[in-house]
């Protein structure tokens, strides 16, 4: 990997507020269509207490290198677009403050276990197809929208069973951190498994058997080694590792 000479904000006449602190932002640059090796380009960026890694990348895009490929949208950890490896750990760039990283150099790379489209942008095709395969919707013949039908009432306890798993924003950080995803290209992944549990645990849903059949495969739920890294990196507090263990309970007959 080659490092290109660092660029500083002082070199260019741009209007950025004067700062007392600055960091070196190392951005991974790679276009798989035209290049064979990944390069790192260094930029010196001023920051404040509340500056996020995404803010810093956008400063680079605006002032130094417009070609940096980065996917982002909401900037408030709701859309799940800006997942990347920050100092070696998968995290959302919009949710990671530079001041909290306690490092003078911040390295940003594309997430592991995803094919790279360009620079920091990865393809979510595999994750989304696994997610769709598990029927991520409530399956029920009853309807609450037709005339003379009742509402699907749920107690707070019923909701509690799946609530945290419905917070998934499909950012892919869990799949990126998963050691099985790194070696098994057919593994369904912690994101899809957590979503399978979200619907299996929902008492309005009648598709439990269908979903359990899909995950009970040679590259399904049993390939999880319970490393727990998926749960550790989730920015929304979803615990895919727990969902996987609870789903196993259904398949082993401990849960009905």
């Amino acid at each position: 990997m080659a490092a290109i000479a660092p660029q500083t904000l002082e070199e260019k006449p741009v209007a950025v507020e004067s700062q007392s602190k600055s960091i070196t932002l190392r951005i991974s640059k790679f276009n798989p269509k035209t290049e064979s090796n990944r390069n790192f380009v260094d930029f010196t960026i001023p920051y404040k207490k509340w500056t996020t890694v995404l803010d810093a990348i956008l400063v680079v895009k605006e002032n130094f290198d417009h070609s940096v490929g980065v996917r982002y949208s909401c900037r408030q950890s709701s859309c799940g677009s800006c997942g990347m490896k920050i100092n070696g750990k998968p995290a959302l760039a919009c949710y990671t403050k530079i001041s909290e990283l306690n490092s003078n150099t911040i390295t940003v790379e594309p997430m592991d276990n995803f094919p790279i489209i360009r620079d920091l942008v990865v393809s979510f095709e595999r994750m989304f197809s696994a997610h769709k395969k598990l029927k991520p919707y409530i399956i029920s013949e009853d309807s609450e929208i037709t005339k003379d039908t009742k509402e699907f009432l749920q107690t707070p306890e019923d909701v509690e069973k799946y609530l945290q798993f419905s917070n998934c924003i499909k950012c892919g950080l869990c799949n990126s951190a998963c050691p099985t995803m790194a070696t098994d290209s057919s593994f369904i992944g912690p994101q899809a498994l957590a979503q399978a549990y979200r619907y299996v645990a929902d008492n309005r849903d009648k598709g439990k058997n269908d979903r359990l059949k899909i995950i009970d495969d040679s590259h399904g739920i049993w390939r999880c080694h319970f490393a727990g890294s998926c749960s550790k990196v989730c920015p929304k507090g979803v615990d895919p590792a727990m969902a996987i263990q609870l789903l196993r309970g259904y398949l082993l007959g401990f849960r009905k």
Partner: protein, 114 residues
């Protein structure tokens, strides 16, 4: 066979093997280690039918558990329809071979042919 059935067998054989190997170790502790490895002592164990059966069951449990574990590792290492079929059938064949060879040893020693 569904993967959950395979994994139930995998967990069951692990639990069974731990329990039976514990009994096997307890048996070995009835005499000192060097004596337990004496030829006459080993043959006497094989000729004692309940102990020979215990060894046979341990052999079957560990073979099933071990070769299924190997299958899982190999499935995670590479993917592909042909490769996965080869791994599955290869592991079943290797497991059968180990069980047959081990059972033959237990039988020969148990019948006093050695």
């Amino acid at each position: 066979m569904r993967e959950s059935v395979v994994m139930k067998i995998h967990y069951g054989t692990a639990l069974g093997a731990v329990a039976l190997v514990a009994i096997h170790i307890l048996f070995r502790m009835t005499q000192n280690f060097a004596d337990s490895l004496e030829f006459e002592s080993v043959i006497a164990n094989y000729e004692f039918l309940p102990y020979a059966l215990l060894l046979e069951v341990i052999l079957v449990l560990i073979s099933i558990h071990g070769f299924n574990g190997l299958r899982v590792i190999l499935l995670e290492l590479r993917q592909g329809r042909t490769y996965e079929k080869a791994v599955t059938y290869g592991c079943i064949a290797a497991m059968a071979a180990v069980i047959i060879y081990g059972s033959r040893t237990i039988l020969i020693a148990g019948m006093g042919i050695v």
